[in-house]
Structures are given as structure tokens and as C-alpha cells.
Symmetry: C2
Subunit: 424 residues, 2 copies
């Protein structure tokens, strides 16, 4: 097989994380080592920008900016939630796919890397298949990214370690605050974290517990339906023992009927999922209404996935390695794969990267195993703790300026467009 | 005047901060240098614990634990919101005051330090006056503490620098996230911060702005009534320019009728103030309903005042100095005063401590001056920025264990009770 020579395109998709830029840095820095890669381009706002031929020249960026991506949250190249949906919008999807390949051909893109979660790996998979169908020789490798930790086949996802590190630290700090105010009246604080279907993020806050009596006292995961009476009894019991109770709730918590506790069904996002805003607020109403306990809420929202200032160094290093591994796989002639993290040992923690066919990843969600949660369903157990603990080790060092983070910002020098505008 | 010799009692009151323990460390470490101070006691849960004679022996604590209070959030001694209220509950207040002095006499308390905000300085003031009236020679010094920054006479309050540092970093990170997702559809993120009456906390997030175009784009402060139409126009204008808009809202934001936007009047706290839970949620409903813009919310709640992991070193050092200054004032024979921070120079920032009669402090609230805010009321101006900028400089170093903060925890060895139980 003759060596493939051409340009590289890297893009980011879906909800950002604290380390998705670290993966892009890994792709770029590794790409610089391979002669078969001629130009290095970044696609702005994922597929959406590529459709509009919005490409930037990474070689115009300073090396220190690329290095700085390792401590910069969010998607430096911009991201999108645009989906090429052959099922729901087949005509648009065909048009989009034609256009993507026009862009790939116009810019001689032979190496394509897409960092994202389930939907994005699905997109990468389709592009890989279309490249073969269309006879456009191109290596397509997915780079895993999601705070939700719900991709299958990888031990865990880059982005996950950082979100649970920040959330666990926050739970610990809030618990210090609430317990220091706790008098005989008792009080409860509900902390809402992300996680629509999978409870990985909520579960991760268990790492804040060093003693049995430490917070969080209850973790409500979306996989386990809420039994209101049992939950209220557990809150009362906790307050009786400790004078306070810290509850972590995943935003997608459901009742026995499978309805989301905090869903506002009148609001839908781009993928048609209901916007969830109020699991903690809803539970606070229930607690105050039914057991008359002083209750406060915290909703971390986007802050948790962007919290670079307390990101996990382990997570960041793994994210970089995933980007590097993607490039190595592509230049060695592989395509249609996602990089995965393989745990080779838990204590002391050791890991390496591997590769998995994109077809095994796309649209498959990986949930918290039921036997990693205590029988009453209110806390993850030792199996989970052993799994999660190594992922939060170490702190990413973020430089500061005037007492605040100094993140890297790309110059984004545009590549001249070769094509007429995209007609949607 | 013969030198006063006896025991010291230090206690904490009101909502905790990231640095109220640093002030207690300052009191304790300074006290150790003065022979006139015999025993050093801590009162658990403020006045409430002192009424119940719940005192601990600080000399039983390890020196490294006391030093560790400088990087430990919340109230290490516990706190309370109990008020000795001669106006509303004169009988209970008289009984409580009698009891306090029984406790002071039983334990030969001659130096009393109370760290807290407005209500707590009021309590300290009453104790000072009662001590004179009752002929119990005792030095009473208030140590300022409040994230709200609403105490008069002091340049700013310990606790304030840390909360705005963390909040500004959070706004910066959330803005990176939201802007990286911003496409032509536009989006808005509302970040709710504390501040019931005063907008100091909300205003402080302006420090996240390095460029005119940076977030936060709009800051809604409780002192300035919301004009909904003007606000919505400003959001639309911001989204038109930047594709996204970050709004910071103080929890106590009011409409033109003076009603709190997010108040739930059915819930009252111990001081009879309505519990505020929903300014951001309420505004999100308005934005989505009236201009159909995708909107998300973040509610930092207790997390912001407990965020030791990104606390300001300047703030922490000032908090320690306030504790030390309180002890120095007391041993030099002064009483009935609160320590204040005096700014002697803004650039480069220089400060010292001073003293102010407690009577000048108690129950006086200090608001953000209107001429520190732009004419349209949506952002603090350069005067505020120059004031606030030095307060967030430097980071408190928190040791970690297993990737999470390792805070100090007091042993809390109890002093034997000398009195019968307190009858309320």
C-alpha cells in the first residue's frame, strides 16, 4: 500500500469538557512528527463549520498556544450539536454528506479526526463509510470525549475524570459549609450535577467521602428510579445522625413511571431531548413540603464541565494521549476506529490506549452497572470507588493573570474558501 | 489600669466563607504570644453553643491543625444564625444575656472575639455594652466576615475577595464553554450568585472581562431594579454581536415594584427573610418565553462561599491579619470595636488594619455606590474594577489527598461544663 499523503482536519463536537482541547493538542503535536501529513487544519464548530468550509490553518498558531490548549476548557475550535441524520432527515443528510466530501476534496483532507461523544462517533463512522463508498482515500479516527462517561468499550472517557474531580471537591466544600451551620434544626443541601441517562457523574462525587459519615450521604442516579418515600426516610435518618444531609442528584433522575423528575417538557434541545433544569429544585420542594426540613440547592450546570481550574491531570494526560494515538493509528493506515482507554492495572493505576471499530461505539450508551451500586441504590459501592479513584489524581496547572485563569485562545487564521457557499 | 488577665473565647457566626477560619487561626496564633491570655477556648456554633456552654480547648489542637484553618473553608468551630433580639423577643434576649455572662464568668472569659457579619457585630456590640453594665471586665472585639461585603467602614470584608475570585473564574470558564458552542441560533447562560440586598458579589464577576467583548455581558445587581424590556433588548443586542450572552444575576434582584424576582415567599429563614432560590430560573423563563433564545442556568449557591480550592491568597492573608489585629487591640485594653481593613494605596495595592466602634457597624448595610455602575446599570464601571481587582490576587494553596482537598478538622476537645443546662 502506497503511503497516503495529504492534509489533516481536526474538529470538535458535542458538549465541551475541560480536556477536549488537550486531545486536539495531542492530535496537532503528534501530526507535526509525520511527513505524510502536509497541512494541519482545524474545522470550526465541528461538522457545521466544515459544511460551511470554515477551516483554520493550525500552522499559523503559536506553539505555546497549542501547548496552552492542554489547560484551556471548552472547544477551542468551537463545537456544534449538528447531526447528519439519515433516518429523520435523509435528503438533508445526503446533501450534507456530498458537501462534506466536496470540502474534503477541495482541501485534500486525507486524515480526519473528530473528538466527541456518541453522536459525534456516529458522524465519524458515517464519514468513514462514505469515504470508502466514494473512493476518497481518507483515514477517519474518532477521539473519545464526554463528561458523561457513557461511551462503550473504553474504560472511561476523557473529560470524565475532571468533571468528577471538580464535583467531588465542590461536594466536599459544600459539606464543610453546611455541616458547620448544622444545628438541631437540621438542614439539607441538594447538589444537581449533569447526567441525562447515565449516573456516572453523580456517582463520581462519592469520592468526596473519606469517612462513612462524610458527604455525599445520598446519590441519586438516573438509572435507579426514585422511590420518594424511601428517599425521604433516608434523608430524615441522615439528619437524625449528622444534623445535615448532602444529596447529589443527576439531572436526569426519573420516577418509577420513568418520567424525569426535573424535566420541562416544553423545551427541547437540538436532538429533541427535553431540557432538564430542575431535579434539585423539584426535590427541594418535596423535602420541604413533606418533611419540613430547611433545604438549599446548588446547580453546577456548565460550570462543572468547564472547570479547568480544578481539572484532573490524569484526565488531561489521557486526553492528550488519545489525540496522539489517533494520529499514530491514521498514519499507520488504520481508519474507522475510535481510540479507547485501556486500564491495565488499577492499583497502582496503569493504562494505555487501544482502538475500537466506530461501528461498535456509535449510539451505544454505557450505563453504570447495577452491581456497582449499593443494594438500597443510594450510593456507588467499592467496585465503583476503585474504578473512579485513579481518574481524579493530580491537578492541571493553569497559569493566572490578575488572579484569574489565563487560557489559550487560537488566532483562527482562515483558509481561503474554494467552493461556493453551502446551500442547506 | 491593671493588666487584664484571663481566658479567651473565639466564636464564629452567620454564613461561612472560605476565610473565616483564617481569621480564627489569626486570633489563636496571636493569642499564643500574650501572657495575659491564659486559656484559649473556642465556642461551638457561635452564641448558640456558648449559651449551651459548649466550649472546646484550643490548646488541645495540633499547631498544624490551626495552621490548616488557613486553607479550610466553612466555620471550623461551627456557626449559627441565632440572634439575641431585644426588640422582637425581649424576654428571651434578657435570659440569653444573663446566661452568656454566667458562662463568661464560669470560665473566666476576659477576651471575646466574634467573627461575623452585620448581625454578629450587633451581637458583639450588645455583649460589649452588657459587660460594662454588669461590671464584668472583658474585651470584646468583632472580626469582620462576610462574602456579601456589606459591612460599613471597612474597605472590604474578608471572604469577599475569595467569593468573587471563584465566581469570576467560573464565569470565565462557563463563557469559554458557551461561546465555543455558539452558532447562529445564539444562546444565553444565566449564572446566579449570592447577594440578597447588595450587588457586591454579582459586580465582582466583572473581573472576568479582559476584553470589551468578554463575559459577563450583563450583571444584574439587587440595588438596580430590573427593567425587563431594556434587559431583553440588551440580551438580544449581545447575542446579535457575539452569538451568546452571559448574564450574572444576584439572587436578590428586584423588579420596579421592589419585589424579588426569584423569591419564594412561602419559605422564610431564621431571620424572617424570604428564601431566594430562583432569580436565574425566573429570568430563563422570561428570556425563553419572550425572545425564544436557548437559555441555561447555573446556581452556585453554597459552593461559591466554600470554594477554598480557588480562594484568594490576598483575602486569606487579610483574614488572618484581622484575627491578629483583634487580639492585639484587646490585649492593649481596647474593647467594643470591630477590626476593619484600611486601603492605603490601590496601585500597587497596600492595606493595613484599623478599628471602628461596633456601634457604627451593627445592622448598617453598605451598598454598591450607584456611581460605580455604568449609566445603563448593566455593568460596574472602572471605579469598581480598580477597587475589586487587587482583592482576588494570589491563590491559597490547599494540600490534596487522592486528588481532592485535604482540609483541617479540629479535634474539638470539650471543656467540662460548670453550669446547669440552659433553659430557653
Amino acid at each position: 500500500m502506497a503511503e497516503l499523503v495529504g492534509n489533516l482536519l481536526v474538529a470538535q463536537s458535542g458538549g465541551p469538557t475541560a480536556v477536549i482541547n488537550a486531545s486536539v493538542a495531542g492530535v496537532i503535536q503528534e501530526a507535526g512528527k509525520h511527513e505524510c501529513i502536509e497541512e494541519i487544519y482545524g474545522g470550526l464548530n465541528g461538522i457545521l463549520g466544515i459544511l460551511n468550509e470554515e477551516l483554520i490553518d493550525i500552522n499559523e498558531e503559536k506553539a505555546k498556544t497549542i501547548e496552552g490548549l492542554k489547560y484551556t476548557p471548552a472547544a477551542g475550535l468551537g463545537t456544534c450539536r449538528y447531526k447528519i441524520d439519515f433516518k429523520k432527515k435523509p435528503e438533508q443528510a445526503s446533501k450534507d454528506m456530498d458537501r462534506l466530501f466536496e470540502v474534503f476534496k477541495a482541501h485534500n483532507i486525507r486524515f480526519f479526526f473528530y473528538a466527541g461523544g456518541n453522536d459525534s462517533q456516529d458522524t465519524a463512522h458515517k464519514i468513514h463509510e462514505e469515504a470508502i463508498k466514494r473512493g476518497h482515500e481518507m483515514r477517519v479516527i474518532g477521539v473519545p470525549k464526554t463528561i458523561d462517561n457513557d461511551l462503550p468499550h473504553t474504560d472511561h472517557c476523557p473529560g470524565y475524570g475532571s468533571v468528577i474531580k471538580y464535583n467531588a471537591a465542590t461536594v466536599m466544600e459544600v459539606a464543610f459549609d453546611v455541616s458547620s451551620m448544622a444545628t438541631d434544626d437540621g438542614s439539607c443541601c441538594l447538589i444537581e450535577v449533569m447526567g441525562r441517562a447515565a449516573g456516572w457523574i453523580a456517582a463520581g462525587t462519592v469520592l468526596a467521602k473519606r469517612l462513612e459519615s462524610d458527604a455525599p450521604h445520598i446519590i441519586l442516579m438516573p438509572e435507579i428510579p426514585l422511590n420518594e418515600a424511601v428517599f425521604l426516610a433516608k434523608v430524615k435518618e441522615t439528619v437524625a445522625s449528622h444534623k445535615y444531609c448532602i444529596v447529589v442528584v443527576g439531572e436526569g433522575l426519573k420516577n418509577a413511571a420513568g418520567e424525569e423528575i426535573g424535566a420541562d417538557k416544553s423545551r427541547l434541545d437540538a436532538f429533541g431531548h427535553p431540557v432538564l433544569s430542575g431535579a434539585a429544585e423539584r426535590l427541594a420542594e418535596i423535602i420541604q413540603g413533606k418533611i419540613n426540613l430547611k433545604t438549599r440547592t446548588v446547580k453546577l450546570g456548565y460550570a462543572q464541565r468547564a472547570a479547568e481550574h480544578y481539572a484532573s491531570l490524569t484526565d488531561s494526560q489521557e486526553a492528550v494521549a488519545c489525540g496522539e494515538a489517533a494520529v499514530k493509528a491514521a498514519v499507520s493506515g488504520q481508519s474507522g476506529l475510535m481510540v479507547k482507554i485501556v486500564r491495565t492495572q488499577t492499583s497502582p493505576y496503569k493504562w494505555t490506549t487501544g482502538l475500537q471499530p466506530l461501528g461498535d461505539i456509535a449510539n451505544v450508551e454505557h450505563f453504570l452497572p447495577r452491581d456497582w451500586v449499593t443494594e438500597d441504590g443510594f450510593l456507588p459501592n467499592q467496585k465503583f470507588i476503585e474504578y473512579a479513584r485513579p481518574l481524579i489524581e493530580g491537578e492541571v496547572k493553569v497559569p493566572t493573570e490578575g488572579g484569574l485563569p489565563k487560557f489559550a485562545v487560537l488566532e483562527k487564521v482562515r483558509i481561503d474558501k474554494q467552493l461556493p457557499p453551502h446551500v442547506k
